[in-house]
């Protein structure tokens, strides 16, 4: 399985070069990448074993392994990712032919494919999470591909924020379960389902995982990013909606169903999915733009899948997943063809194209028939499985399923038929409209045809669906059949077809009234916008408050925060604060200290810069005397030399400067003084706590013992500087050299530079 991933990633890495081959036609050759991977998958799945495990050591210290698992469910998903991927790559090669950004696009698309494939094959949940986030990142790049459009950028960011926020929740949930189970393998979690459910925190962990899944799979109230994501180029939308990305959340729910399906909280997925399905069906009915209608029907399908997984209807879930992937992939590509050829994006803007785009029309009819659940397409099997499952779970589930399936069926027929019937009209002149070539049509025609084939020969679908249902815990999934006789599900199915017909008739008559923007004033997307706006406003406000551009404000804020933090630490840490005991005996250092302090206070009182410079020199000499007294002759010598240089420098430069003036008001000076005294006081207090605490083990002992034998020097301080910590000294020299160069440049540059700039 690693080999498959390696093939696709290698394809992605080499895609930019391959795409440029043969005068930009090389992109067509990239179709070989998913084909090769598909062959590898087929060879692996042909074995007898019900599931294949494959593990490589990756980060053993963290118990993370590159573990993969191929069972019925991941086989179904991987076949969809790669199988639809073949057509998507072919479609994209033609769709963006001649676009200079195509190499980049193909590379990102293949990376996206690799991420999705890794996600469905991963057995290690950390590995799964990494692929999960990779799909978010690559889809961000794909949705925002048209990065000169503000709308595309916004949609990409929205998708990223929503899915990554959910992804973080997912990580929390996965780690919680991982710690409970003592393992990070999905295949081992399955064996410990009951133990995991009985843990007291399992409810929270489940909530976190579900949050990750429903954001990814666009369930209400996180659905809004998906319709916006249609800003992406058509091949991306088709791929994103049919086989990848949004299916990831549903896939993970299905993956976890055998483990956690018995958890009491699992039931909540049923109303969530049902509401999402009905809501999205209604939203689709309100829309005019082709891709938007399709996007909302995807949300409806995801809601239905969540509903089915919530009820634990394994076979219905995988059947619906397969049927949806086929018709949705086809319809999205066909919508792209219509837009590509006629220039129309809105359904109301195009009609009568049946003569101009006959193949497109045929494929669209096939796909819509499957979607609406018309005999004998595979969609009807999926729909009857859905309705049969719903019948076992109460009336309102049936109503939700029938209504949402009916509306969506009607809307998909609207998309598939209205552009082709009636009098010809399109933004582009009819003479200029030609049928798309085989590269664009291969995918939709193949997928739509497959929908009919699987419906006629359900045994073929059983080949993948029965193992998939088994992987979901279905004990003995029945073989699929097209005709079950007249039963409740059949009646319900007829009901949904009636609703579809009603929707078909109603849509053009109510669109103007339903589609008005006033309805969009409420809803979760507004909440998203408002919270992002609030975040921005807070950032601007805080920045305006803190970044005043005045140095003394920064100093004051830093000082105040330091005081508050240190003081609260001192008070909160539990140990009593130690206060110094002042001895009354006067000694030399005490006199020196008092003298230095008096000079320092004098320095801040004076206004003549020269006098202050001289007094500061005296402070420095006082400090060097203290060094000398306390056994630090080297420090004393250095300090004396530096202090002399400093004083000379200050006097040389400052004697040209004007007298300093009192600039601040008296009250300001008083406030500053209080702040400064508090700051100094807290320094003293903390320093005293440090000195009162037992001294930690010091490396000084080591340095003292080795100075002579290894450093060959008797002055230990000097040995440290030039030997043990020679790099520090080198850094010090560099700083001095830089300061000297900077100072020289400033002094030598012409005096009017600044004025010219301003």
């Amino acid at each position: 399985m690693l080999l498959m991933l390696a093939v696709i990633i290698a394809g992605a890495v080499s895609a930019p070069w391959i795409s440029r081959l043969a005068g930009g036609r090389g992109a067509f050759a990239l179709v070989a990448v998913p084909v090769v991977a598909l062959l590898l998958l087929g060879r692996m799945a042909s074995g007898e074993a019900a599931e294949v495990l494959e593990a490589y050591t990756w980060v053993p210290g963290l118990d993370v392994a590159a573990a993969f698992r191929l069972d019925g469910l991941s086989l179904l998903m991987a076949s969809l990712v790669l199988g639809i991927g073949v057509f998507i790559v072919a479609y994209a090669a033609k769709y963006l032919e001649g676009d200079e950004r195509q190499p980049r696009f193909m590379a990102t698309l293949l990376l996206f494919m690799a991420a999705m494939l890794g996600l469905v094959l991963a057995d290690d949940v950390i590995l799964l999470f990494i692929f999960w986030e990779l799909t978010s990142l690559t889809s961000y790049l794909l949705i925002g591909f048209d990065h000169t459009q503000a709308k595309a950028r916004q949609a990409a960011l929205q998708g990223l924020v929503v899915t990554v926020a959910g992804g973080l929740c997912l990580l929390v949930g996965l780690i919680m379960f991982g710690e409970m189970a003592g393992s990070y393998r999905l295949s081992e979690w399955v064996l410990q389902g009951e133990m995991l459910i009985s843990q007291p925190t399992s409810g929270w962990a489940l909530l976190m995982v579900v949050l990750g899944c429903v954001t990814k799979s666009a369930q209400f109230p996180f659905h809004f990013w998906l319709p916006n994501a249609m800003a992406a180029p058509t091949p991306v939308s088709a791929y994103l909606h049919s086989a990848t990305m949004v299916k990831a959340g549903v896939f993970l729910l299905a993956r976890l169903y055998p483990t956690l399906g018995a958890h009491p909280g699992w039931q909540w997925l049923v109303p969530l999915g049902a509401f999402t399905a009905v809501f999205a069906a209604f939203m689709a009915f309100r829309s005019d733009e082709m891709k938007k209608v399709l996007a909302y029907t995807t949300v409806m399908a995801l809601g239905t899948l969540t509903l089915l997984i919530g009820m634990g209807e394994a076979q219905a879930a995988v059947g619906f997943l397969l049927a949806h992937a086929l018709y949705k992939g086809a319809l999205f590509m066909l919508a792209g063809v219509i837009t590509h050829e006629t220039g129309a994006k809105a359904l109301s803007g195009v009609g009568g194209m049946r003569r101009h785009l006959p193949w497109t029309w045929g494929a669209a009819l096939f796909a819509a028939a499957s979607a609406a659940g018309v005999m004998p397409w595979v969609g009807v099997i999926a729909k009857e499985l859905l309705l049969e499952s719903a019948l076992g779970h109460g009336v309102w589930v049936v109503v939700a399923a029938v209504v949402s399936a009916g509306i969506v069926g009607g809307m998909l027929f609207t998309v598939a038929l209205r552009p082709f019937i009636g009098a010809p009209r399109a933004p582009r002149a009819p003479e200029a409209i030609h049928e798309a070539g085989p590269w664009l049509l291969a995918g939709p025609v193949a997928l739509a045809g497959l929908g009919l084939l699987l419906g006629l020969v359900p045994g073929l679908a059983d080949q993948v669906l029965v193992p998939a249902a088994r992987a979901l815990g279905a004990v003995d999934p029945a073989a699929l059949a097209l005709w079950h006789g007249v039963n409740h599900a059949f009646v319900a199915s007829l009901g949904s077809l009636a609703i579809a017909a009603l929707v078909w008739w109603l849509w053009p008559r109510t669109l103007r009234w339903m589609g008005t923007a006033g309805w969009d004033r409420f809803g979760p997307e507004r909440a998203y916008d408002a919270s992002l706006g609030a975040l921005g406003a807070v950032a601007v406000g805080v920045t305006a408050k803190l970044q005043s551009g005045l140095l003394r404000r920064y100093v004051a804020i830093t000082l105040l925060s330091t005081i508050v933090l240190l003081l609260s630490t001192l008070l909160l840490r539990g140990d009593a604060v130690v206060w110094p005991q002042f001895s009354a005996t006067i000694s030399v250092p005490i006199v020196l200290a008092a003298g230095v302090l008096v000079l320092a206070v004098l320095a801040i009182r004076l206004v003549d810069a020269l006098s202050v410079a001289l007094i500061l020199g005296a402070v420095g000499f006082g400090v060097s005397l203290l060094y000398l007294w306390f056994s630090a002759p080297d420090l004393a010598i250095t300090q004396v030399m530096i202090e002399t240089l400093t004083t000379i420098l200050l006097v040389l430069i400052l004697f040209r400067l004007p007298r300093m003036r009192r600039l601040s008001s008296p009250s300001q000076r008083m406030a500053d003084m209080v702040l400064a005294i508090f700051g100094g006081g807290i320094v003293s207090l903390v320093l005293w706590q440090v000195m009162a605490a037992p001294s930690p083990v010091s490396i000084s002992e080591w340095l003292i013992a080795r100075s002579m034998p290894e450093g060959h020097g008797r002055n230990i301080v000097n040995v440290i500087l030039v030997d043990f910590r020679a790099l520090d000294t080198l850094g010090e020299i560099v700083v001095l050299a830089l300061a000297a160069m900077g100072g020289y440049a400033l002094l030598k540059s012409p005096p009017n530079t600044g004025e010219r700039e301003s």
Binding site: G549, L550, L551, R552, P580, S583, P589, A593, V596, L597, V601, I604, A609, V612, A613, G620, V623, L626, F630, S631, A632, D634, L635, L645, L649, I653, R656, L657, L663, S664, A676, G680, G681, V683, S684, L687, W688, V690, M691, S698, I699, L703, I704, A705, S707, M708, P709, G713, R714, N715, I716, V717, L721, V735, A739, G742, G743, L746, L747, T753
Partner: protein
Amino acid sequence: MSADPWLVLLIGGLYSCAFYMMLRRSLTKTLFGLVLLSNAANLLIFVAAGVTIGRPALVPDGLQAPEGLVADPLAQAFILTAIVIGFGVLAFAVVLIRRAHEVLDVDDFDELKDAEQ
């Protein structure tokens, strides 16, 4: 040990003076605050490492290591580096302020900010 509390008091006092000077509007006063601040910080490291009277960190002739307790050489090495770097920073700041006077003729951060705009 008897002088320790007084040294701690001195360090706090020097910090207070430095903070006060750095809160001023005048560029020159802020510079003086920098001088006081580096002295205070050096003394802080020195005193925190523990002070010793009359026992510098030297190895006497004929011995491989000093006998008994000596002053902490590591803290002294750090401070030595800090003194020199402090001087480098100060020298650069002095030139910068002189330049501000020369070009803009200001010694006030508020005016300097206005001049930027």
